[in-house]
Amino acid sequence: MLIPCPHCGLRPSEEFTPKGLAEAPRPVIGGADLPEDATWQDYLHTRTNRAGDTDEYFHHALGCRSWVVVHRNTLTHEVYGATMASEFWAQKNQQPEQETGQ
């Protein structure tokens, strides 16, 4: 599979680390906003495993180190394109997921 990194251009998927769907924001951790167990249960374990078009995070680990969102079809393996993760969420007019509590 070839992934068109927005910064580097067309690259083999071996350079990327898949990081899961870009549609389920990570629940906020810490402070007074501890998520409910059921929320974590859903986030960690309840996956749709969609057959078809998906938006997924990939980290260009052996490249420019950018987080990109790859738009692809899990049935046909066709890759439609890729967007920088920050731009993906800006386009969706949403905040990116919070990386806290590491």
Binding site: H7, R65, S66
Partner: protein, 188 residues
Amino acid sequence: MSTIVLSNPLGAHWTAGRHGQAEGEAGIRATHAAGLTIVEVAALPGQAQPLRAALEAGFGMTLGDGQPAHSAENAVCTGPGHYLLVGHDVQAVKAAVGDLAMAVDQSSGRVRVSIDGPAVADLLAKACPLDLRAWPIGGAQASHFLHIACAYYRRSEHGFDLYFGRSFAASAAQWLLDAGAEFGVEIG
């Protein structure tokens, strides 16, 4: 400031002279730049364009629109707003980038090996996934050499600079000697 120079990051087999196939012109000529000053700069969010402007003004380089293809011999683009600044004084770099970017001295963290020669494309074909035809001279690529993260800079048709993490350099050098043996490797 004191300077520590560790002897040979490329391992015991990396010695000056001819290696592998001994007849005729060497297919690969390789050099290691010891004691090279390398500073990694990474723009803070939203500061990539001002960083390029500051580097261009401070060092007289041309970095274009920030794409890897628009790199300079001494400013290798490794990511969005990320550069390896090579051969520049560390304090001068830090002064030039100010608070636009993080600047970290990687002189002892990165190793540069330069390769040239008629068999370079055949050697890279074994280790590097990139299409040389789509890679302009003067352009950089952040990719891998075997399994090792590597920043490349293309100097000329057959001339490339390879930047490895220091602790991976001996492994990369050993492989380079083995894979280049069929072409003959001349280490200068």
